[in-house]
């Protein structure tokens, strides 16, 4: 059988600022510039799974099950939240798309059956995205 990659997209919106509580206001402003001020983004997350379609159902995964994981791990945590105040990921590091993608990658990797997650792409806006891939097996 041939492996198929399946991509599901979700969209969520958050507020955030690049701000590390251990630093002074002046240090935060100097390090992060304009992004130290409160702002927001509409993120688009594309999650790619890889596997062989089940010979009986013809599916890599039931999309409802994938959506349930995405709702629980991503939407419930981040959508219409403040990344700094409402999550635990950005106390020592700023909520850059790189760091947010790494946080989401860790959550999804733990929540999905082993070996299924192939890559994810996080768009911060339509012109900017970061991508994290598992090494090919």
């Amino acid at each position: 059988m041939t492996k198929v990659r399946l991509t599901r997209a979700i969209e969520f919106s958050t507020s955030l600022r690049y701000w590390i509580p251990d630093l002074s206001e002046a240090e935060n402003r100097a390090r992060f510039g304009r992004k130290a001020g409160p702002h927001g983004h509409n993120y688009r997350l594309e999650v790619t799974l890889v596997g062989e379609p089940d010979p009986v159902t013809g599916m890599v995964i039931d999309l409802k099950d994938l959506q349930t994981v995405l709702d629980r791990e991503v939407m419930a945590r981040f959508d219409h939240r403040d990344l700094n105040r409402d999550t635990d990921f950005f106390e020592k590091q700023p909520p850059t798309p790189e760091n947010l993608a790494r946080a989401i990658h860790g959550l999804l990797r733990a929540a999905l059956p082993e070996g299924l997650l192939s890559s994810l792409r996080l768009y911060e806006d339509p012109d900017t995205f970061v991508e994290i891939s598992e090494p090919p097996s």
């Binding site: 041939t2 990659r5 399946l6 979700i10 379609p53 159902t57 013809g58 599916m59």
Partner: protein, 137 residues
């Protein structure tokens, strides 16, 4: 490696169900997609071919030839059809995974015969779901 991708669209009907299973099984596995009357999608299809650039014309694959191939073997065959009626789906449920696999199996020999390689098939079922086989992006 250099690759060329062309994008196509087709609209088709399908029902995700196995006639060798009972109704509760189909409803449990495929949910609303199992509706016996069928439903449909506007599929987006990306065909990627890879190969050597012909020094005479600077192209790795003639666009018109690729379009003609895809039109003949995929779009005319599956566009405005009920996929479950196609012999390719007599023994396979027309999930997007299986549609992508069938399109790949169909096009690969013809593209090979023209001296190139079918590198990737990417099938968008909706704006949120896509399925791909072959080389990663």
């Amino acid at each position: 490696m250099i690759a060329l991708t062309r994008r196509y669209r087709f609209a088709a009907a399908h029902a995700l169900r196995r006639e060798d299973r009972d109704e509760p099984w189909n409803e449990r596995v495929y949910g609303k997609c199992a509706n016996p009357s069928g439903h449909g999608h506007d599929y987006g299809l990306e065909i990627t071919v890879a190969g050597e650039v012909d020094p005479r014309n600077g192209q790795l694959f003639d666009r018109d030839q690729l379009d003609a191939l895809v039109l003949d073997q995929v779009l005319d065959r599956f566009g405005h059809s009920h996929l479950n009626d196609d012999p390719a789906f007599a023994a396979r449920v027309p999930t997007a995974e299986n549609i992508a696999l069938v399109i790949g199996e169909t096009l690969a020999p013809a593209i090979q015969a023209q001296g190139a390689r079918l590198a990737r098939v990417r099938l968008e079922e909706t704006r949120k779901n896509s399925f791909e086989i072959g080389d990663p992006r």
